[in-house]
Amino acid sequence: MDLYIWLTQTLLPELCESFVDPRKRVSIIYLCTAILLVFIWGLTSGLSLKSGLRAVTSGLLSKKILLSRSSMGDYKLLIINRILFSLKAPFFLSKTAFTAFLFFYLNEVFPTQNSILSATPVIFVTVAYTVILFLVDDLSRFITHYALHRFEVLWAFHKIHHSAETLSPLTVFRTHPVEGIIFGLRSLLAQGIVVACFVFFFGSQVDLVSVLGVNVLIFIFNATGANLRHSHVPISYGRSLEIFFLSPVQHQLHHSKSPKHYNCNFGVVLAVWDKALGTHSLDYSQEKLQFGLGDQKCQYNNTLFKMYVYPFCEVSGILKRRTVEFFNKLSKGENSAFQ
């Protein structure tokens, strides 16, 4: 009975929430706008209604993609992760508690600055909050993503996402739970810092410039094809715009199995972070991209158990290897000291 209540009152509503909540990228609104964009893209490429429909059916809603082994792996991870995270592990730090802690810390460090900007016009504060929150959020996503590729231990978990060989909007859910925790901490840090600073300096609640309750800038990003980042539709914004904003095809490049495309385009919305770090890439031609891990050994085979467990085995191997290397270095050092 308890299981039934949990299924119907917790799990199912939470699963459905992802598809109706406008704050989520895979909300039905954004999926519809993505389909519309692909249709228009197809229409303009082939100049016929048929070509528009073909673009939708082959690039986005193709059986080959949606029922592929890789996509099935995405769905399994979506459901099981949702079950795991609906249990609300007690070790998760409360975002409110963290924000309150930061807020009181600011009070300690800057005792005379509390609400010092409270006379600022509301419109200015609202716009500033919207933009700063967006920038901090986008930067923190970039840093997290970069770290997931840069550090071997983190890459072991992020590899699961990159093992997708077909991309669909639901590939965003192809995530190892450890990554889920990392993303949660990222969100906690980014939102907590911005909210605490704004409430501290401006003295009270600050509103967002929003559409359907979502930061207007995130809404624009989601409504203009964010879901196509994980798709087989190579929509480009044009090189002049892609210097500032990452297009769907640039993220597809990030997922390419070709070694020449490794470690590029880590950003989400803005290209400026990649530009600054030298990882920005516009290196796509008319070649059809293939996705996955390429020459790296892929042992997961879209099996749920393997996708969950193998990263831990890999991390254990890495740690063992590192320990051996550390002691080897240490002993070499000692030997050379005696010579």
Partner: protein, 462 residues
């Protein structure tokens, strides 16, 4: 035989008085259990002295706001009559009838004679104010100041005397007497035993009356377990719509002795109205349960087990009463924060509200410190954060009182810093007392903003 008759009459009276309530939901009447009682009384419950003190307090608060800005000896004398006098014939200044909300009594003596507040005020030093004044000394100091202030408010120094006097008395008299005297010392085996009358000729035992007096200080209607916190709140405000709920015997008037709501119960209801706490009901139920234990002893000495149960109930009452005071401190720290923000934004009209709220904050914070427990470092921190006086718009702040009773002021660093103090007061109440109603919670703003952002537990890649 007489005893049996008394019990029967008392039981019938109980049934008659609360036809709509289940037996046991009302505090009294309870039968006479005292052995060898030969008087004509049938009810052993009595707490009229405490109700008289609530009325003296309400009246004193009202009088404290009657000054015209010039020294007024007559007003001071009148206030002192309500604080330390016992003069017969004192007319009730508050609470009085309001529209259809008619109050039965007009003279304090109709409730109880020869009562004052000073004799029951906490005698220890009040460390939250300068010069180590005792409770009565501090109240008399404020009475003196209030008599010469315009409507009780000293705008130059930032003191709202009616609020300071009122909120401090709620602790220094009601809370202190209940939790540090009647529910503490008088609940030991030796003091006021249950097999003897409270005093010679009284119709109640030592323990019965001690418990009743503590209940009286809480200031809730005897039938309040059947009332919603919103109704309790409305009764205290003398709303016409609340009359039918207060007037339980249906005589068209509210009997201050059994049907009215006073300070402590009013503030418990204020917190309970949020739906996040249940202080009023918990306290009242504990009082009723305790009284039943004492009544069930039937005039015999209480056993160790019975005393143990009473101590547990006393602890529940004390804990919830303390939390009620902490909730009030939390609430008014939040109010002061909001007022200061308005002042910082140039809205000087917020000054009036600020002084009123600060008076409530200071009064309640001092009240919190005069219970049975020594709050130690928490009290020191609270007093340091709130200060001796509020930080004014021109950054002046009273920091001391000289030997002639004049305020000594100094310059605060900024309004923002004092706003930070208000937030720290809220945090202190949260950390040390676990307040839950959290009215005017300034950190709730952050919680609302985070809720709007969402994205808590999603496991999504970029």
């Amino acid at each position: 035989m007489t005893k049996l008759l008394n019990i029967t009459i008392a039981s019938v009276a109980t049934l008659g008085a609360c036809t709509t309530l289940a037996i046991g939901d009302v505090y009294g009447p309870y039968p006479i259990t005292l052995k060898n009682y030969s008087g004509s009384k049938t009810n052993s419950v009595a707490y009229t002295g405490q109700i008289a003190r609530h009325v003296l307090h309400d009246s004193l608060k009202k009088l404290a706001a009657k000054g015209n800005g010039n020294p007024n000896e007559a007003l001071k004398k009148q206030m002192l009559e309500f604080y330390s006098g016992k003069t017969p014939g004192r007319k009730i200044v508050a609470p009085v009838s309001k529209g259809t909300f008619q109050i039965k009594q007009e003279i304090v003596d109709e409730i109880s004679k020869k009562k004052n507040l000073s004799g029951k005020t906490y005698k220890g030093a009040i460390t939250g104010m300068p010069n180590n004044m005792s409770g009565p000394e501090l109240i008399k100091f404020w009475i003196d100041k209030a008599s010469s202030a315009n409507r009780g408010v000293d705008k130059a120094n930032g003191y709202h005397y009616p609020q300071l006097i009122s909120k401090f008395i709620m602790g220094a008299v009601s809370y202190n007497q209940a939790v540090d005297n009647y529910l503490d010392e008088k609940m030991t085996a030796k003091k006021k035993p249950n097999n003897k009358p409270y005093k010679k000729g009284a119709p109640y035992t030592g323990k019965e009356h001690s418990w009743d007096e503590a209940f009286g200080y809480y200031g809730t209607p005897a039938h309040s377990l059947s009332l919603d916190p919103k109704v309790i709140y409305a009764i205290a405000k003398r709303k016409a719509s609340a009359l039918k709920h207060a007037d339980v015997n249906g005589d068209g008037k509210v009997d201050l002795k059994r049907e009215m709501v006073f300070g402590p119960a009013y503030y418990a209801a204020a917190a309970d109205k949020t739906g996040r706490t249940n202080y009023g009901r918990t306290i009242t139920k504990a009082f009723i349960d305790g009284r039943k234990i004492i009544t069930s002893a039937n005039g015999k000495k209480l056993s160790q087990e019975q005393l143990g149960k009473l101590r547990k109930l006393a602890s529940i009452i004390e804990d919830n009463w303390e939390k009620t005071l902490a909730e009030a401190v939390f609430k008014y720290a939040g109010s002061c924060f909001k007022d200061l923000k308005a002042i910082q934004q140039g809205k000087l009209s917020a000054q009036g509200k600020y002084l009123k709220h600060w008076g409530e904050l200071k009064g309640f914070s001092l009240s919190l410190q005069v219970g049975r427990k020594n709050l130690g470092a928490t009290a020191s921190k609270l007093n340091r954060l709130i200060g001796v006086g509020p930080v004014m718009a021109n950054l002046s702040q009273v920091t001391d009182i000289d030997s002639s009773g004049n305020y000594v002021k100094s310059q605060a660093s900024s309004i923002g810093e004092y706003m930070g103090h208000m937030l720290k007061v809220q945090k202190l109440m949260l950390d040390k007392f676990g307040v839950k109603a959290r009215i005017n919670d300034q950190t709730a703003d952050m919680s609302n903003m985070l809720k709007k952002l969402g994205g808590g537990s999603s496991v999504e890649n970029d």
